[in-house]
């Protein structure tokens, strides 16, 4: 059965970001399954859009959730949201970050019917409440089903907002990572990805392990890709390992894919705090051998060591042993890599989408569509008709 799905992205369509690319991947995958999709997102004035994206208005930069986000709100944005709901005639409207003070919360207020939401980030309680308890509660009550992308996001929802959510992790576009070459053509190199001065990413554990690794494999190159102050970190390196470490700085998504395809070993020395480990899945999809710390999230992704090598977290010696064991034993490494491909495929968008569609189907009654909500709103009760007529005209102008 083909569905008409409306997706709402609260952040600017033309600015790269996690939520934005999640929405884009979801839209592309749903379209690939034969559903018709329309995305409502804030858009800068002069950007070119695919025909399945609707301009939700020009975003303004506002500090939100710890950084500056580009959001759309106000009377004009509300009119666009309402016009989008009316004209879209959607079977399902799927709102991302439903409490984001942008098109998302406006859609929660303006729509009724089969509404589904995905919670991406975790907020602290004060921020949730400052969004206005009444607004939050009223918006939440209309969501028929909630999805959380991580256990952390789910806990935020249950603990601070109230309500339950189904855990559906982010999908990976496995095809984008698929390697062209076999393991034997890869460079005998190790790759680290992540913000370099953030202790949780564990670069220091890798650095401490390097003397022992280089003793066995003196010509090994260790690529360190990620944002942060390179000079600061380089200063701290012991002399004997400095020449082996190559700092690449922050890299684009494309460069990250290339790197994961080129090197033999990807190391994830994270010390904790990871809720999922999507980069491990990407590494497996790209055909590099994963060596990771044994924190719960990674154990799960690597099937307790079946599709990648695990070592005791925060233990440089264990890391060195693990890296050396996969570098020295080609057969063992290739076995891990070949088990990594089917594991990564389980996190492919094409698999994840089945769970999302199951949520859509389980909140909807056959034949139901999303319509405009005029109840429970002061303006909706007393000043509906005139503003209606205006908003329709505006919707056509833009």
């Amino acid at each position: 059965m083909s569905l008409r799905v409306g997706l709402v992205c609260p952040y600017a369509w033309d600015v790269p970001g996690g939520v934005r690319s999640h929405v884009a991947d979801l839209a592309v995958t749903l379209r690939g399954r034969g559903h018709s999709v329309n995305v409502l997102a804030p858009v800068e004035e002069d950007s070119v859009l695919p025909d399945w994206v609707t301009d939700g208005g020009r975003p303004v930069a506002v500090p939100y959730n710890g950084s500056v986000a580009r959001l759309s709100f106000g009377v004009k944005a509300t009119r666009r949201v309402r016009a989008w709901i009316r004209e879209g005639d959607f079977d399902i409207v799927h709102i991302h970050e439903p409490l984001a003070p942008s098109l998302s919360v406006l859609t929660c207020w303006s729509a009724r019917g089969p509404l589904v939401a995905t919670w991406h980030s975790s907020h602290d309680r004060s921020r949730v409440l400052s969004a206005g308890y009444y607004v939050a509660q009223t918006a939440m009550e209309k969501l028929r089903g909630s999805i959380a992308v991580s256990e952390e996001a789910r806990r935020t929802l249950i603990g601070h907002v109230g309500g339950d959510a189904v855990l559906i992790p982010n999908g990976v576009r496995v095809k984008d990572f698929a390697p062209e070459s076999h393991d034997r053509q890869r460079r005998r190199e190790v790759l680290f990805l992540g913000r370099i001065e953030e202790p949780r990413k564990g670069l220091s554990v890798l650095v401490d392990a390097l003397p022992a690794i280089l003793q066995q494999v003196p010509d090994l190159v260790v690529n360190v890709a990620g944002p942060g102050d390179i000079d600061d970190v380089r200063k701290e390196l012991p002399a004997e390992v400095a020449s082996a470490v190559r700092f690449l700085g922050a890299v684009t998504d494309e460069r990250k894919q290339e790197l994961l395809r080129e090197v033999q070993v990807y190391v994830a020395p994270h010390t904790g705090g990871e809720s999922f480990g999507i980069v491990l899945v990407e590494a497996m999809a790209a055909g590099s051998c994963v060596v990771a710390s044994d924190i719960p999230a990674f154990r799960h992704v690597l099937e307790d060591g079946g599709s990648g090598r695990l070592f005791t977290a925060k233990d440089p010696k264990a890391l060195a042993d693990a890296v050396l064991s996969v570098l020295a034993d080609d057969a063992a490494r290739r076995a891990l890599v070949s088990r990594g491909f089917p594991r990564a495929a389980q996190y492919d968008w094409d698999t994840v989408i089945d769970d999302v569609l199951a949520v859509y189907e389980s909140v909807r009654v056959e034949g139901e569509t999303v319509s405009e909500d005029l109840r429970g709103q002061a303006l909706g009760r007393f000043a509906v008709r005139p503003s209606f007529a205006r908003s329709r005209r505006n919707g056509e102008d833009s």
Partner: protein
């Protein structure tokens, strides 16, 4: 100056009335959400028992397992009739869940998969079992939100819920047979 007090009182009463009406609107929306969630759960349960029955009568199951599943599926379908109580229904659905998980162990699943048409039936069964889980979870979430609002003093004092029955969560065992569960979750 006393007419100021009258204006203030009228404004206050109007605002209070507006708040009451908005709360009534919220409550109404929650009751509707519960109703549609129930309908959706009903549809998914019906789908699950249909697939179970189809599986049992298709000849891909071993005869003993087929009888157990068919019996449980038929019972679940009769319990869905309007004159049976919610508890009977929950018991019947739990029984179907248990019949399915006892019958469909790893060996049986492997056997059924190799039979013609078997893997399609199993996929359909797993999909419907997953949707039953989701629907029930979402329904109970709506029930929780509604009960929370209905416990507010304002709602009880002004009887904003009218004569609508107190919402009750739906509890039964809805686990997906382990051998059918998706490996990623």
């Amino acid at each position: 100056m006393s007419w100021w007090w009258v204006v203030a009182a009228v404004v206050a009463i109007a605002l209070f009335g507006l708040y009451l009406s908005m709360t009534a609107g919220r409550l109404d929306a929650l009751h509707k959400r519960i109703d549609t969630s129930r309908l959706s759960l009903d549809a998914q349960l019906l789908r699950r028992s249909s697939v179970a029955l189809e599986l049992a009568t298709s000849g891909v199951l071993d005869p003993a397992g087929a009888i157990v599943v068919a019996e449980a599926a038929r019972h679940a379908r009769t319990a869905a009739d309007e004159d049976s109580s919610a508890t009977d229904r929950a018991d019947a659905e739990t029984a179907l869940t248990q019949a399915l998980s006892v019958t469909l162990d790893a060996e049986e699943v492997a056997e059924v998969r190799s039979a013609p048409g078997g893997s399609e039936l199993l996929a359909e069964l797993a999909a419907s079992a997953q949707r039953v889980q989701l629907s029930r979870r979402f329904l109970n979430d709506a029930v929780r939100a509604c009960a929370q609002l209905r416990r507010q003093r304002l709602v009880t004092t002004f009887r904003l819920a009218g004569h609508t029955a107190w919402p009750n969560p739906v509890e039964f065992d809805d686990s997906v047979p382990a051998a059918l569960a998706t490996p990623s979750s």
